[in-house]
Symmetry: C2
Subunit: 199 residues, 2 copies
DNA sequence: TTCTCTCTAGACCGGTCAGTCTAGGGTGGG
DNA sequence: CCCACCCTAGACTGACCGGTCTAGAGAGAA
Protein backbone atom coordinates (compact mmCIF):
# COMPACT_ATOMS: atom_id res chain seq x y z
CA UNK A 1 0.00 0.00 0.00
CA UNK A 2 1.48 3.30 -1.08
CA UNK A 3 1.25 6.41 1.03
CA UNK A 4 -0.76 9.41 -0.05
CA UNK A 5 2.42 11.34 -0.44
CA UNK A 6 3.88 8.74 -2.76
CA UNK A 7 0.74 8.64 -4.86
CA UNK A 8 0.86 12.42 -5.21
CA UNK A 9 4.48 12.47 -6.31
CA UNK A 10 3.91 9.62 -8.72
CA UNK A 11 0.88 11.28 -10.26
CA UNK A 12 2.79 14.54 -10.68
CA UNK A 13 5.74 12.73 -12.27
CA UNK A 14 3.46 11.21 -14.88
CA UNK A 15 1.72 14.47 -15.62
CA UNK A 16 4.98 16.40 -15.93
CA UNK A 17 6.18 13.91 -18.53
CA UNK A 18 2.94 14.35 -20.44
CA UNK A 19 2.28 18.07 -20.36
CA UNK A 20 4.78 19.94 -18.27
CA UNK A 21 4.41 22.13 -15.23
CA UNK A 22 2.09 24.82 -16.55
CA UNK A 23 -0.04 22.28 -18.37
CA UNK A 24 -1.05 20.30 -15.32
CA UNK A 25 -3.48 21.37 -12.63
CA UNK A 26 -3.24 20.40 -8.97
CA UNK A 27 -6.90 19.34 -8.88
CA UNK A 28 -6.23 16.86 -11.65
CA UNK A 29 -3.28 15.44 -9.70
CA UNK A 30 -5.33 15.18 -6.54
CA UNK A 31 -8.10 13.35 -8.32
CA UNK A 32 -5.70 10.87 -9.86
CA UNK A 33 -4.02 10.29 -6.50
CA UNK A 34 -7.41 10.03 -4.77
CA UNK A 35 -6.42 12.67 -2.25
CA UNK A 36 -8.05 15.83 -0.92
CA UNK A 37 -6.45 19.21 -1.20
CA UNK A 38 -5.19 19.60 2.33
CA UNK A 39 -2.81 16.67 1.97
CA UNK A 40 -0.82 18.34 -0.74
CA UNK A 41 -0.20 21.45 1.33
CA UNK A 42 0.51 19.37 4.38
CA UNK A 43 3.33 17.45 2.69
CA UNK A 44 4.60 20.22 0.45
CA UNK A 45 4.70 23.64 2.04
CA UNK A 46 5.18 25.41 -1.27
CA UNK A 47 2.43 23.49 -3.01
CA UNK A 48 2.56 22.70 -6.70
CA UNK A 49 6.20 23.73 -7.06
CA UNK A 50 7.35 21.56 -4.16
CA UNK A 51 5.45 18.61 -5.49
CA UNK A 52 6.94 19.13 -8.94
CA UNK A 53 10.46 19.22 -7.51
CA UNK A 54 9.86 15.95 -5.67
CA UNK A 55 8.43 14.45 -8.86
CA UNK A 56 11.46 15.53 -10.87
CA UNK A 57 13.81 13.95 -8.32
CA UNK A 58 11.81 10.74 -8.31
CA UNK A 59 11.77 10.55 -12.11
CA UNK A 60 15.50 11.03 -12.38
CA UNK A 61 16.12 8.49 -9.67
CA UNK A 62 13.99 5.96 -11.50
CA UNK A 63 15.52 6.61 -14.88
CA UNK A 64 19.13 6.47 -13.71
CA UNK A 65 18.42 3.39 -11.60
CA UNK A 66 17.01 1.72 -14.70
CA UNK A 67 20.25 2.37 -16.59
CA UNK A 68 22.35 1.16 -13.66
CA UNK A 69 20.34 -2.07 -13.63
CA UNK A 70 20.72 -2.59 -17.38
CA UNK A 71 24.46 -1.99 -17.06
CA UNK A 72 24.76 -4.55 -14.29
CA UNK A 73 22.85 -7.12 -16.32
CA UNK A 74 24.86 -6.82 -19.52
CA UNK A 75 28.53 -7.41 -20.27
CA UNK A 76 28.48 -4.83 -23.04
CA UNK A 77 27.77 -1.29 -21.78
CA UNK A 78 26.64 -0.12 -25.20
CA UNK A 79 24.10 -2.91 -25.30
CA UNK A 80 22.90 -1.75 -21.90
CA UNK A 81 22.40 1.74 -23.30
CA UNK A 82 20.56 0.28 -26.25
CA UNK A 83 18.15 -1.66 -24.04
CA UNK A 84 17.62 1.40 -21.91
CA UNK A 85 16.74 3.58 -24.90
CA UNK A 86 14.47 0.87 -26.19
CA UNK A 87 12.60 0.76 -22.90
CA UNK A 88 11.95 4.50 -22.98
CA UNK A 89 10.88 4.36 -26.59
CA UNK A 90 8.40 1.63 -25.82
CA UNK A 91 6.90 3.68 -23.04
CA UNK A 92 6.46 6.60 -25.45
CA UNK A 93 4.77 4.36 -28.00
CA UNK A 94 2.59 2.62 -25.44
CA UNK A 95 1.28 5.97 -24.24
CA UNK A 96 0.25 7.05 -27.72
CA UNK A 97 3.22 9.41 -28.00
CA UNK A 98 2.26 11.32 -24.89
CA UNK A 99 4.75 10.20 -22.27
CA UNK A 100 8.07 11.84 -23.11
CA UNK A 101 10.94 12.97 -20.93
CA UNK A 102 9.83 13.82 -17.38
CA UNK A 103 12.04 16.90 -17.29
CA UNK A 104 11.97 18.25 -20.81
CA UNK A 105 8.53 19.84 -20.95
CA UNK A 106 9.06 21.59 -17.64
CA UNK A 107 12.56 22.64 -18.63
CA UNK A 108 11.23 24.56 -21.59
CA UNK A 109 8.53 26.50 -19.84
CA UNK A 110 10.14 27.34 -16.53
CA UNK A 111 11.27 30.94 -16.21
CA UNK A 112 14.12 32.63 -14.46
CA UNK A 113 12.27 33.55 -11.26
CA UNK A 114 11.38 29.93 -10.49
CA UNK A 115 14.86 29.35 -9.13
CA UNK A 116 14.20 26.20 -7.10
CA UNK A 117 12.42 24.44 -9.90
CA UNK A 118 15.13 25.40 -12.34
CA UNK A 119 17.80 24.18 -9.95
CA UNK A 120 16.07 20.81 -9.57
CA UNK A 121 15.90 20.46 -13.34
CA UNK A 122 19.55 21.40 -13.79
CA UNK A 123 20.54 18.92 -11.11
CA UNK A 124 18.39 16.27 -12.81
CA UNK A 125 20.08 16.72 -16.15
CA UNK A 126 23.46 16.68 -14.50
CA UNK A 127 22.65 13.37 -12.81
CA UNK A 128 21.37 11.92 -16.05
CA UNK A 129 24.49 12.97 -17.94
CA UNK A 130 26.66 11.52 -15.18
CA UNK A 131 24.94 8.15 -15.27
CA UNK A 132 25.25 7.93 -19.05
CA UNK A 133 28.87 9.02 -18.78
CA UNK A 134 29.52 6.24 -16.26
CA UNK A 135 28.11 3.73 -18.74
CA UNK A 136 30.24 5.09 -21.55
CA UNK A 137 33.33 4.96 -19.36
CA UNK A 138 32.65 1.25 -18.88
CA UNK A 139 33.44 0.78 -22.58
CA UNK A 140 36.99 1.88 -21.95
CA UNK A 141 36.59 5.42 -23.24
CA UNK A 142 38.41 7.79 -20.84
CA UNK A 143 36.32 9.83 -18.40
CA UNK A 144 36.50 13.38 -19.81
CA UNK A 145 35.65 12.22 -23.30
CA UNK A 146 32.93 9.96 -21.90
CA UNK A 147 31.24 12.95 -20.30
CA UNK A 148 31.45 14.91 -23.54
CA UNK A 149 29.84 12.03 -25.38
CA UNK A 150 27.20 11.64 -22.68
CA UNK A 151 26.16 15.27 -22.98
CA UNK A 152 25.91 14.89 -26.71
CA UNK A 153 24.00 11.66 -26.27
CA UNK A 154 21.44 13.19 -23.94
CA UNK A 155 20.97 16.24 -26.16
CA UNK A 156 20.33 14.25 -29.29
CA UNK A 157 18.02 11.88 -27.50
CA UNK A 158 15.95 14.67 -25.98
CA UNK A 159 15.57 16.41 -29.32
CA UNK A 160 14.61 13.20 -31.06
CA UNK A 161 12.07 12.34 -28.38
CA UNK A 162 10.45 15.70 -28.87
CA UNK A 163 10.20 15.34 -32.61
CA UNK A 164 8.89 11.78 -32.30
CA UNK A 165 6.19 13.10 -29.99
CA UNK A 166 4.81 15.70 -32.37
CA UNK A 167 5.11 13.40 -35.38
CA UNK A 168 3.47 10.53 -33.47
CA UNK A 169 6.06 8.34 -35.12
CA UNK A 170 9.15 6.78 -33.63
CA UNK A 171 11.08 6.03 -36.83
CA UNK A 172 13.09 9.21 -36.39
CA UNK A 173 13.80 8.28 -32.78
CA UNK A 174 14.99 4.81 -33.76
CA UNK A 175 17.28 6.30 -36.38
CA UNK A 176 18.86 8.76 -33.97
CA UNK A 177 19.41 6.03 -31.37
CA UNK A 178 21.08 3.80 -33.93
CA UNK A 179 23.34 6.64 -35.02
CA UNK A 180 24.29 7.48 -31.45
CA UNK A 181 25.12 3.88 -30.59
CA UNK A 182 27.08 3.63 -33.84
CA UNK A 183 29.15 6.67 -32.90
CA UNK A 184 29.92 5.15 -29.50
CA UNK A 185 30.97 1.82 -30.99
CA UNK A 186 33.22 3.58 -33.48
CA UNK A 187 34.83 5.58 -30.69
CA UNK A 188 35.29 2.43 -28.60
CA UNK A 189 37.02 0.61 -31.48
CA UNK A 190 39.29 3.60 -31.91
CA UNK A 191 40.29 3.58 -28.24
CA UNK A 192 40.81 -0.15 -27.92
CA UNK A 193 41.84 -1.44 -31.33
CA UNK A 194 40.79 -5.06 -31.93
CA UNK A 195 43.63 -7.57 -31.51
CA UNK A 196 45.52 -8.02 -34.77
CA UNK A 197 45.45 -11.50 -36.31
CA UNK A 198 48.88 -13.07 -36.18
CA UNK A 199 49.71 -15.37 -39.10
CA UNK B 1 3.04 50.52 -38.86
CA UNK B 2 2.15 46.94 -38.04
CA UNK B 3 -1.42 45.74 -38.02
CA UNK B 4 -3.08 44.58 -34.83
CA UNK B 5 -3.14 41.07 -36.19
CA UNK B 6 0.59 41.11 -36.85
CA UNK B 7 1.30 42.42 -33.38
CA UNK B 8 -0.79 39.63 -31.88
CA UNK B 9 0.98 36.91 -33.83
CA UNK B 10 4.36 38.36 -33.03
CA UNK B 11 3.61 38.58 -29.31
CA UNK B 12 2.37 35.00 -29.28
CA UNK B 13 5.47 33.81 -31.14
CA UNK B 14 7.70 35.37 -28.50
CA UNK B 15 5.68 33.96 -25.61
CA UNK B 16 5.62 30.46 -27.09
CA UNK B 17 9.40 30.48 -27.32
CA UNK B 18 9.60 31.56 -23.70
CA UNK B 19 7.00 29.44 -21.95
CA UNK B 20 5.02 27.32 -24.32
CA UNK B 21 1.33 27.13 -25.05
CA UNK B 22 -0.05 26.26 -21.62
CA UNK B 23 2.28 28.69 -19.93
CA UNK B 24 1.05 31.79 -21.72
CA UNK B 25 -2.24 33.59 -21.14
CA UNK B 26 -4.20 35.42 -23.81
CA UNK B 27 -4.61 38.46 -21.59
CA UNK B 28 -0.86 38.76 -21.35
CA UNK B 29 -0.56 38.56 -25.15
CA UNK B 30 -3.26 41.17 -25.61
CA UNK B 31 -1.57 43.56 -23.24
CA UNK B 32 1.77 43.17 -24.98
CA UNK B 33 0.16 43.69 -28.37
CA UNK B 34 -1.86 46.65 -27.03
CA UNK B 35 -5.08 45.12 -28.27
CA UNK B 36 -8.49 44.45 -26.72
CA UNK B 37 -9.96 41.01 -26.50
CA UNK B 38 -12.46 41.23 -29.33
CA UNK B 39 -9.70 41.61 -31.91
CA UNK B 40 -8.22 38.22 -31.15
CA UNK B 41 -11.51 36.43 -31.69
CA UNK B 42 -12.23 38.50 -34.76
CA UNK B 43 -9.02 37.43 -36.49
CA UNK B 44 -8.79 33.91 -35.07
CA UNK B 45 -12.07 32.07 -34.85
CA UNK B 46 -10.65 29.38 -32.61
CA UNK B 47 -8.93 31.81 -30.29
CA UNK B 48 -5.73 30.95 -28.52
CA UNK B 49 -5.11 27.81 -30.58
CA UNK B 50 -5.54 29.60 -33.90
CA UNK B 51 -3.23 32.37 -32.80
CA UNK B 52 -0.63 29.83 -31.67
CA UNK B 53 -0.74 28.05 -35.01
CA UNK B 54 -0.21 31.34 -36.85
CA UNK B 55 2.66 32.14 -34.48
CA UNK B 56 4.29 28.76 -35.08
CA UNK B 57 4.11 29.27 -38.83
CA UNK B 58 5.55 32.76 -38.55
CA UNK B 59 8.41 31.56 -36.35
CA UNK B 60 9.36 28.78 -38.72
CA UNK B 61 9.16 31.11 -41.68
CA UNK B 62 11.50 33.55 -39.96
CA UNK B 63 13.97 30.93 -38.83
CA UNK B 64 14.22 29.16 -42.19
CA UNK B 65 14.44 32.49 -44.02
CA UNK B 66 17.32 33.42 -41.75
CA UNK B 67 19.20 30.28 -42.73
CA UNK B 68 18.45 30.84 -46.43
CA UNK B 69 19.89 34.33 -46.14
CA UNK B 70 23.03 33.12 -44.38
CA UNK B 71 23.51 30.47 -47.05
CA UNK B 72 23.18 33.04 -49.83
CA UNK B 73 25.72 35.29 -48.16
CA UNK B 74 28.40 32.68 -47.61
CA UNK B 75 30.40 30.53 -50.00
CA UNK B 76 30.72 27.77 -47.42
CA UNK B 77 27.40 26.21 -46.39
CA UNK B 78 28.80 24.91 -43.13
CA UNK B 79 29.94 28.40 -42.26
CA UNK B 80 26.39 29.56 -42.99
CA UNK B 81 25.09 26.97 -40.52
CA UNK B 82 27.60 28.10 -37.97
CA UNK B 83 26.55 31.73 -38.25
CA UNK B 84 22.93 30.72 -38.03
CA UNK B 85 23.48 28.71 -34.85
CA UNK B 86 25.47 31.55 -33.41
CA UNK B 87 22.62 33.97 -34.05
CA UNK B 88 20.17 31.77 -32.20
CA UNK B 89 22.55 31.24 -29.33
CA UNK B 90 23.03 34.97 -28.99
CA UNK B 91 19.30 35.47 -28.81
CA UNK B 92 19.08 32.90 -26.04
CA UNK B 93 21.85 34.61 -24.10
CA UNK B 94 20.48 38.10 -24.68
CA UNK B 95 17.13 37.03 -23.24
CA UNK B 96 18.69 35.70 -20.06
CA UNK B 97 18.24 32.09 -21.18
CA UNK B 98 14.52 32.48 -21.65
CA UNK B 99 14.04 32.61 -25.40
CA UNK B 100 14.53 29.08 -26.72
CA UNK B 101 13.03 27.28 -29.67
CA UNK B 102 9.64 28.67 -30.66
CA UNK B 103 8.24 25.18 -31.22
CA UNK B 104 9.91 23.03 -28.61
CA UNK B 105 8.04 24.04 -25.46
CA UNK B 106 4.70 23.71 -27.18
CA UNK B 107 5.73 20.40 -28.76
CA UNK B 108 6.28 18.85 -25.35
CA UNK B 109 3.02 19.88 -23.75
CA UNK B 110 0.55 19.45 -26.59
CA UNK B 111 -1.63 16.37 -26.27
CA UNK B 112 -3.16 14.03 -28.80
CA UNK B 113 -6.57 15.69 -29.02
CA UNK B 114 -5.10 19.03 -30.12
CA UNK B 115 -4.74 17.73 -33.66
CA UNK B 116 -4.42 21.04 -35.50
CA UNK B 117 -1.77 22.37 -33.17
CA UNK B 118 0.16 19.12 -33.34
CA UNK B 119 -0.06 19.13 -37.13
CA UNK B 120 1.30 22.68 -37.30
CA UNK B 121 4.21 21.68 -35.08
CA UNK B 122 4.98 18.58 -37.11
CA UNK B 123 4.89 20.62 -40.31
CA UNK B 124 7.17 23.20 -38.70
CA UNK B 125 9.79 20.64 -37.76
CA UNK B 126 9.58 19.10 -41.22
CA UNK B 127 10.20 22.51 -42.81
CA UNK B 128 13.11 23.16 -40.47
CA UNK B 129 14.70 19.79 -41.24
CA UNK B 130 14.23 20.41 -44.96
CA UNK B 131 15.93 23.79 -44.85
CA UNK B 132 18.89 22.42 -42.91
CA UNK B 133 19.04 19.47 -45.32
CA UNK B 134 19.16 21.88 -48.26
CA UNK B 135 22.13 23.61 -46.66
CA UNK B 136 23.91 20.33 -46.04
CA UNK B 137 23.29 19.25 -49.62
CA UNK B 138 25.08 22.40 -50.75
CA UNK B 139 28.27 20.93 -49.30
CA UNK B 140 28.13 18.12 -51.86
CA UNK B 141 26.71 15.49 -49.52
CA UNK B 142 24.01 13.57 -51.42
CA UNK B 143 20.36 14.34 -50.65
CA UNK B 144 19.21 11.28 -48.66
CA UNK B 145 22.22 11.38 -46.38
CA UNK B 146 21.86 15.15 -46.06
CA UNK B 147 18.34 14.73 -44.72
CA UNK B 148 19.51 12.09 -42.27
CA UNK B 149 22.20 14.43 -41.03
CA UNK B 150 19.74 17.32 -40.87
CA UNK B 151 17.37 15.36 -38.64
CA UNK B 152 20.25 14.47 -36.38
CA UNK B 153 21.42 18.06 -36.42
CA UNK B 154 18.05 19.45 -35.40
CA UNK B 155 17.60 16.85 -32.66
CA UNK B 156 20.94 17.51 -31.05
CA UNK B 157 20.47 21.25 -31.29
CA UNK B 158 17.03 21.16 -29.69
CA UNK B 159 18.26 19.01 -26.83
CA UNK B 160 21.25 21.21 -26.24
CA UNK B 161 19.15 24.36 -26.32
CA UNK B 162 16.92 22.89 -23.64
CA UNK B 163 19.80 21.98 -21.38
CA UNK B 164 21.44 25.35 -21.89
CA UNK B 165 18.18 26.97 -20.83
CA UNK B 166 17.90 25.19 -17.51
CA UNK B 167 21.59 25.53 -16.77
CA UNK B 168 21.57 29.23 -17.73
CA UNK B 169 24.85 28.53 -19.41
CA UNK B 170 25.64 28.18 -23.08
CA UNK B 171 28.96 26.34 -22.84
CA UNK B 172 27.21 23.03 -23.41
CA UNK B 173 25.38 24.50 -26.40
CA UNK B 174 28.62 25.81 -27.91
CA UNK B 175 30.20 22.39 -27.49
CA UNK B 176 27.35 20.56 -29.18
CA UNK B 177 27.34 23.02 -32.08
CA UNK B 178 31.07 22.61 -32.56
CA UNK B 179 30.72 18.83 -32.54
CA UNK B 180 27.88 18.93 -35.06
CA UNK B 181 29.75 21.20 -37.43
CA UNK B 182 32.81 18.98 -37.02
CA UNK B 183 30.83 15.92 -37.99
CA UNK B 184 29.54 17.70 -41.08
CA UNK B 185 33.00 18.80 -42.16
CA UNK B 186 34.32 15.28 -41.67
CA UNK B 187 31.52 13.87 -43.78
CA UNK B 188 32.13 16.49 -46.47
CA UNK B 189 35.84 15.65 -46.66
CA UNK B 190 34.92 12.01 -46.98
CA UNK B 191 32.56 12.70 -49.91
CA UNK B 192 34.85 15.08 -51.77
CA UNK B 193 38.42 14.13 -50.91
CA UNK B 194 40.80 17.08 -51.04
CA UNK B 195 42.89 17.22 -54.23
CA UNK B 196 46.15 15.26 -53.78
CA UNK B 197 49.37 17.19 -54.08
CA UNK B 198 51.25 16.12 -57.16
CA UNK B 199 55.03 16.30 -56.84
C1' DT C 1 -8.90 6.91 29.40
C1' DT C 2 -7.12 11.09 27.73
C1' DC C 3 -3.87 13.97 25.60
C1' DT C 4 -1.11 14.96 21.52
C1' DC C 5 0.43 15.03 17.13
C1' DT C 6 0.47 13.65 12.37
C1' DC C 7 -2.20 13.08 8.50
C1' DT C 8 -6.69 13.34 6.10
C1' DA C 9 -10.59 15.83 4.56
C1' DG C 10 -13.12 19.10 1.75
C1' DA C 11 -15.53 23.63 1.87
C1' DC C 12 -14.06 27.88 0.62
C1' DC C 13 -11.29 32.07 -1.20
C1' DG C 14 -9.86 35.71 -4.45
C1' DG C 15 -7.91 35.79 -8.75
C1' DT C 16 -7.28 34.55 -13.43
C1' DC C 17 -8.46 31.68 -17.23
C1' DA C 18 -10.28 31.41 -22.21
C1' DG C 19 -14.01 32.91 -24.51
C1' DT C 20 -18.68 35.80 -25.61
C1' DC C 21 -21.33 39.77 -26.57
C1' DT C 22 -22.86 44.23 -27.88
C1' DA C 23 -21.52 48.66 -29.18
C1' DG C 24 -18.93 51.94 -31.67
C1' DG C 25 -15.29 53.98 -34.79
C1' DG C 26 -13.38 54.65 -39.46
C1' DT C 27 -13.03 54.23 -44.22
C1' DG C 28 -14.40 53.30 -49.00
C1' DG C 29 -18.17 53.02 -52.41
C1' DG C 30 -22.38 54.80 -54.03
C1' DC D 1 -24.25 62.60 -48.00
C1' DC D 2 -25.02 57.97 -46.09
C1' DC D 3 -24.67 53.36 -46.01
C1' DA D 4 -22.05 49.03 -45.31
C1' DC D 5 -18.66 46.59 -43.61
C1' DC D 6 -14.37 45.57 -41.44
C1' DC D 7 -12.07 46.16 -37.45
C1' DT D 8 -11.64 47.84 -32.72
C1' DA D 9 -13.12 48.07 -28.08
C1' DG D 10 -13.74 46.37 -23.38
C1' DA D 11 -17.27 44.94 -20.01
C1' DC D 12 -18.81 40.59 -18.84
C1' DT D 13 -19.35 35.31 -18.00
C1' DG D 14 -18.78 30.93 -15.88
C1' DA D 15 -15.30 27.73 -15.11
C1' DC D 16 -11.23 26.69 -13.08
C1' DC D 17 -6.82 28.07 -11.05
C1' DG D 18 -3.58 27.50 -6.93
C1' DG D 19 -3.85 28.11 -2.23
C1' DT D 20 -6.00 28.65 2.71
C1' DC D 21 -8.55 27.26 6.58
C1' DT D 22 -10.86 24.70 10.08
C1' DA D 23 -12.37 20.32 11.50
C1' DG D 24 -11.72 15.71 12.61
C1' DA D 25 -9.87 10.82 12.22
C1' DG D 26 -6.52 7.66 14.08
C1' DA D 27 -2.45 5.99 16.36
C1' DG D 28 0.78 6.03 20.13
C1' DA D 29 2.26 7.55 24.76
C1' DA D 30 1.28 8.21 29.47
Amino acid sequence: MSSTRERLVDAMATSLARKGFAGVGVNEILERAQAPKGVLYHHFADGKTGLAIAAIRLSIERITASLTRKRAASADPIEALELWLEGMRQRLEASGFEYGCPLAATALEVHAEQTELRAALAEGFRALQAEVARTIEATGIPAPRALELAVFFVSAYEGALMQARVASDSTLLRGICATLLGLLRAEQRHVIPPPKERP
